[in-house]
Every structure is written in structure tokens, then in C-alpha cells.
């Protein structure tokens, strides 16, 4: 394989295990690499990670660069940035993708400003195309597509003049493709010298909270928005979810208004979901919300405003007040 000009993914590891979003990005990166007829590679940083790296080859990675050091077990920005910058300078990838996690969103902008290259946050789509700028034609560059400016606009952003072109993508946005167990790729050891002065941050304690809500695994999600009107009224949404055996979701506005905890939030700044059935109750449907649920199998929307954007993506819509519609839906479920 050609060592340079490839499509890369920063493979985030937490306690040695690769993050789900990193695997999703490897699947997308493979697609981009195939379009560009180049290789797809990962970079994994941590302590004793090669065995995990080897397993990831099956996502059709041609090469995974591993940087191992006992001090790199847990992410801190300074040494991780140095490593990313050095391997990028050495192998000159044309594209580098990062998960938009607390780690990726800390690391990627630091790498971008260190290398003085572009970075687009929270992309919802990535494509390869051509672009002419100031009479200069750029072939096969990365279109970085994201919602912008409070919602109802989709912006396409490019950064063709300096390589690599970089983007962050949230978990659940890109689809996983099936692994191919016999794929021939290699794990490559990279040595990067790090002095103790390059570890100015010390992680002294890690407290884990177990998640009580698992939106990603839900087959049915009933979500509520500002249309619920109050915390008390939000109970209607919970009742419907309960009747259908579903999980409760919410729009950002409903979370910000204090109707329900943030862990229920669906959308660009919450969780991206793909349930079989998504019922949006009193949610107008901003781009950010839709970006987090429009891949759902079936979408039902209930809203008092017939012009609400959510109806544009709904398979079925009912115009009406939640307190009129939801009790009737519950009654209809129970009578079957």
C-alpha cells in the first residue's frame, strides 16, 4: 500500500476498548477511501492495545498505527496531540476523522490548530467531490456537511488547501457495516518519544455513572418537546412510552426547560437514534433534532402546528394537542 495520502480515523479507546463511534467512522472512512482509491488506516493510542487493534482490521482497515506507552492509558490532550501531529506529519493522510466525544472534541481542535489545518465539528455527512475556488480547481476533496446557525440551514464546508482535511462526527451518525474477518491489514508499531514534561495533566480519579437510559438500543422511542408545556404534562409522553413498551426521548428544548433529564435527549447534541418506531410529541423538528432521528424506521408526529417541520419527515402526522391525542392512543393500544 501507499503509505501517504490515505484516509485515517483516530480510534479512541476507553479502558483499552475501541469506542463505538470510532468503528462507525472506520466504516465511513473505508467508503471514502474506496472512492479515492487509497487505503484506510486507524491510529490507536494507549497501553497494551495491539490485540484490540488487530481485531479492528476486520473493518477493512489496511493499517492500524499503534502508539503504546503506560502513561497513555487514559486520554490527556498534550501527549495525544503531539502523537497525532507527529504521525500525521510522517504519513501525510489526506483525511482524518474523529468521534465527536469529549475526547475527540478536546483533541481534534488542538491538532487542527497545531497543524494549522481545517476542522469541521459535528458533521452529519461526508462526501468526496470537486470544488473550484479562486480559479483553482480542487479534485476529490472532502465535503464536510453539517447543520449550522441555530438549525434550519445545512452548510457544506471544505478545507482543500491544506492536508489533512479533518472532521468530527457524533456517535450513531455513520452506519456500521459488517466486518470481514479475513481482511488483510496490518498493525504497525509507531515509537514516539514523550518526556514527563509532556504530561502536564494528571487524571487522579475517574467516577463512572451507569446510564439508566439506553436510547441507542431502543426499538420504540416516544419523544416529547416543548409542546408538552410543563414537567407535569410530560408524564403523558412517559405513559405512552410505557404503553408501547418504548423508551422516553426528548428534544433539547424540553431538556433545557427542565421537563426531563439530559440523558433522554435525542438530536445532534444528544443521542442519534435509529429505532423501528419514533413518535415525536410536541416537537417542532429543528434540523438538529431531525439529524438525530430521521433514520428511524417509521416516524409519527403529533403537533398542534400543521406547519411544524417535523411533519415533513413523518410517515404519519396528527395535528392536535398532546393531551387530546396521547390518551386516545394509549386507549387504542390497550384495547387491542
Amino acid at each position: 500500500m501507499n503509505e501517504k495520502n490515505n484516509v485515517w480515523v483516530f480510534i479512541q479507546q476507553d479502558e483499552g476498548k475501541p469506542a463505538e463511534v470510532s468503528i462507525e467512522l472506520m466504516c465511513k472512512a473505508r467508503e471514502l477511501a474506496d472512492t479515492l482509491k487509497v487505503s484506510m488506516c486507524g491510529v490507536m493510542i494507549g497501553k497494551n492495545i495491539k490485540a484490540e487493534a488487530k481485531k479492528l482490521i476486520s473493518y477493512r482497515a489496511d493499517r492500524i498505527y499503534c502508539i503504546e506507552d503506560g502513561r497513555l492509558d487514559h486520554y490527556t490532550p498534550v501527549p495525544y496531540t503531539k502523537i497525532m501531529c507527529e504521525v500525521i506529519k510522517k504519513y501525510e493522510p489526506q483525511i482524518v476523522l474523529y468521534g465527536a466525544t469529549t475526547t475527540g472534541r478536546d483533541l481534534a481542535p488542538r491538532v487542527a490548530s497545531s497543524l494549522k489545518v481545517g476542522l469541521t465539528a459535528d458533521c452529519t455527512d461526508l462526501k468526496i467531490g470537486d470544488h473550484t475556488m479562486k480559479d483553482q480547481e480542487f479534485k476529490n476533496i472532502l465535503y464536510q456537511i453539517r447543520p449550522a446557525f441555530g438549525g434550519n440551514i445545512i452548510a457544506t464546508i471544505v478545507s482543500p488547501e491544506k492536508k489533512p482535511q479533518m472532521a468530527t462526527v457524533r456517535e450513531g451518525v455513520m452506519k456500521l457495516s459488517a466486518p470481514e474477518s479475513k481482511y488483510a491489514g496490518e498493525v504497525v508499531n509507531e515509537q514516539i518519544k514523550l518526556t514527563d514534561a509532556e504530561f502536564p495533566t494528571e487524571v487522579i480519579k475517574i467516577i463512572k455513572k451507569t446510564r439508566s437510559v439506553n436510547l441507542k438500543a431502543a426499538h420504540i422511542i416516544v419523544s416529547g418537546g416543548m409542546g408538552a408545556g410543563s414537567k407535569e404534562n410530560f408524564k403523558l409522553i412517559q405513559d405512552l412510552a410505557h404503553a408501547l413498551g418504548g423508551t422516553v426521548g426528548a428534544s433539547r428544548a424540553a431538556v433545557d426547560a427542565g421537563f426531563i433529564a439530559k440523558e433522554h435527549q435525542v438530536g445532534q447534541t444528544g443521542t442519534t437514534v435509529r429505532p423501528k418506531l419514533y413518535i415525536a410529541c410536541g416537537i417542532s423538528g429543528s434540523i438538529q433534532h431531525r439529524a438525530g432521528m430521521d433514520q428511524s424506521g417509521r416516524i409519527i408526529a403529533i403537533n398542534t402546528d400543521p406547519e411544524a417541520p417535523i411533519f415533513q419527515i413523518a410517515h404519519y402526522g396528527i395535528v392536535g394537542d398532546l393531551s387530546d391525542v396521547i390518551p386516545r392512543l394509549i386507549k387504542a393500544v390497550k384495547s387491542k
Binding site: 490532550p77 478536546d106 487542527a112 481545517g118 476542522l119 457544506t156 471544505v158 410517515h315 391525542v325
Partner: protein
């Protein structure tokens, strides 16, 4: 203890108009406010000031009227302000913006801590804080939800992550970005407003902060917005508008039958 807080003035409404020719925001005719998420950074700084007697300088890059945002921060209790404003700064992406702010911070020189908001509500990237740290070659720590202790040499803080939080010790000077959980912002006081009104805010351009023209504005921005569209979706689903309780009942039945037919429930 010397603290620097970079803030941003943002349009109040989410309904921002775009200039489709340049791909940048049209700021005219929209009321501007301090980025709501920067208020948590300001409050975090003020809390440290109350406990250790810190001096806080608030800085922003923007048009001349962005001075209003700085005045509000001063009215809340910040000590000093600096405005970075010049035509050559226009059209900056997050990389170019963090460069200008970092050069201004370098110019101030004497500081222990830089506190940023998590992200701005208009651009929504969260990239400027870590970007500043890269230009200054300082440690960064994003998503800080609690300051445990803020010394001149060591900061101890909690960082909110996906599945819990981490407690970190960071050698100063450093850059942090804070989340909502870190503080609840106070309102400006009357005496603060009077002080803010009297304060003359220095306006600095590229030469004042030794900024290289190649890193500035649209030309110094590696990313360019090349297309803006309002997506049209064509799912053509069925919209039921019930006119009576009976029709509502029928609509509910129809939906539930639909679920059964699809074998969803």
C-alpha cells in the same frame, strides 16, 4: 491569580440570516448578546476571584459593537476588557479566531488561567478553546463541571465525560472550557454597570498583538463554507387533521392499527 476569559457576542435569535455569496452570517438587524454559555465561564472566574482575589480580563474578537458584550462582563464583576477588532479579522473560522485570541493572550502575558465557555450558540463547534491552547502551547481541559481548587500553579477540577466524570490536576498556566454545571451566572450589579459605562475599552488590531496577516480572517481560515441550503424533505407522509373527538379517536385507532400491521408492536 490572573485570569483571562475570551467571550463571544452572538445573535440572540436562532433565526440567523446567511449571506449566500460569502457563506458568512448577516449580523445586521439582529440583537446581540453575550454567548449564554460564556456566562458560565465568567461566573467561574468571578467565583475564583471571590475566593482568592483574582484579576479578570475579558477579551473578545468582533466588530466594534462587540464592546457591549465586554461591558456586560465588566458589569458582572470582571476587572478589565480588551476588544480585538479589525477588518482583517472578518470571516475567521475557528482556527483563525483562536489564533487572534491566543495572540492577544500572549500580549497580556501575565496570566495563570484562561477560561472559555463550552461553545458559542451560533457556530456551535466548541473548537476555539482547545484551539487557543494549541496556539499558546498550553495544556487544555474541556468540559470542566467543577473547580475544586484553583492555585496559580495547579488547577484541580472535575471534567464531565460521557459516562461520568474525571478529577484532573493540571499544571498552570492552562486553558479550560466550562459546562453549565460549573456555575450559575449572576446578574450584573448597578455599581458594576456604572463601572462598565465609565470603562474605556482598548481596541487592538493585528499589529498591536503581533499577528501575522497570513493567519487572519477569511484568508487565514483553512475551512470555507461553500454551500448553504435549506433542506427540502419529501417523505410525503399522511397528515391527519381531526376536527372532532370522534375523528381524533379514529385517527388514534388508525395509527395503532398501522403499528400492528408493520409488526412494530
Amino acid at each position: 491569580m490572573k485570569i483571562i476569559i475570551p467571550i463571544k457576542q452572538v445573535p440572540e435569535t436562532g433565526d440567523v440570516k446567511m449571506d449566500s455569496a460569502t457563506g458568512t452570517m448577516k449580523r445586521d438587524g439582529v440583537r446581540s448578546i453575550v454567548n449564554p454559555l460564556d456566562l458560565y465561564a465568567i461566573e467561574t472566574g468571578l467565583k475564583i476571584k471571590e475566593s482568592t482575589g483574582a484579576h479578570i480580563t475579558v477579551i473578545t474578537m468582533g466588530p466594534p459593537k462587540a464592546a457591549e458584550a465586554l461591558k456586560e462582563a465588566v458589569a458582572m464583576g470582571c476587572d478589565d476588557a480588551m476588544l480585538l477588532s479589525d477588518k482583517s479579522f472578518a470571516g475567521s473560522d475557528t482556527c483563525a479566531t483562536s489564533y487572534v485570541l491566543a495572540m492577544a493572550i500572549k500580549k497580556i502575558a501575565d496570566y495563570n488561567l484562561v477560561i472559555c465557555g463550552e461553545r458559542a450558540t451560533d457556530g456551535d463547534t466548541g473548537q476555539v478553546g482547545p484551539g487557543i491552547s494549541a496556539w499558546l502551547n498550553l495544556p487544555v481541559c474541556t468540559y470542566i463541571s467543577k473547580i475544586i481548587s484553583a492555585g496559580e500553579k495547579i488547577l484541580t477540577a472535575e471534567r464531565l465525560v460521557e459516562d461520568g466524570y474525571e478529577t484532573l490536576e493540571i499544571k498552570g498556566p492552562c486553558v479550560i472550557t466550562v459546562v453549565k454545571e460549573a456555575a450559575s451566572p449572576r446578574l450584573p450589579t448597578l455599581s458594576g454597570k456604572i463601572r462598565a459605562k465609565k470603562l474605556t475599552i482598548p481596541i487592538l488590531g493585528p499589529s498591536d498583538i503581533n499577528a501575522h496577516p497570513e493567519h487572519l480572517g477569511l484568508a487565514g481560515s483553512p475551512t470555507k463554507v461553500v454551500k448553504i441550503e435549506t433542506p427540502k424533505i419529501t417523505r410525503n407522509g399522511e397528515l391527519i387533521i381531526p376536527k372532532s373527538p370522534e375523528e381524533m379517536e379514529a385517527a388514534a385507532d388508525k395509527i395503532i392499527k398501522y403499528f400492528h400491521k408493520l409488526d412494530i408492536i
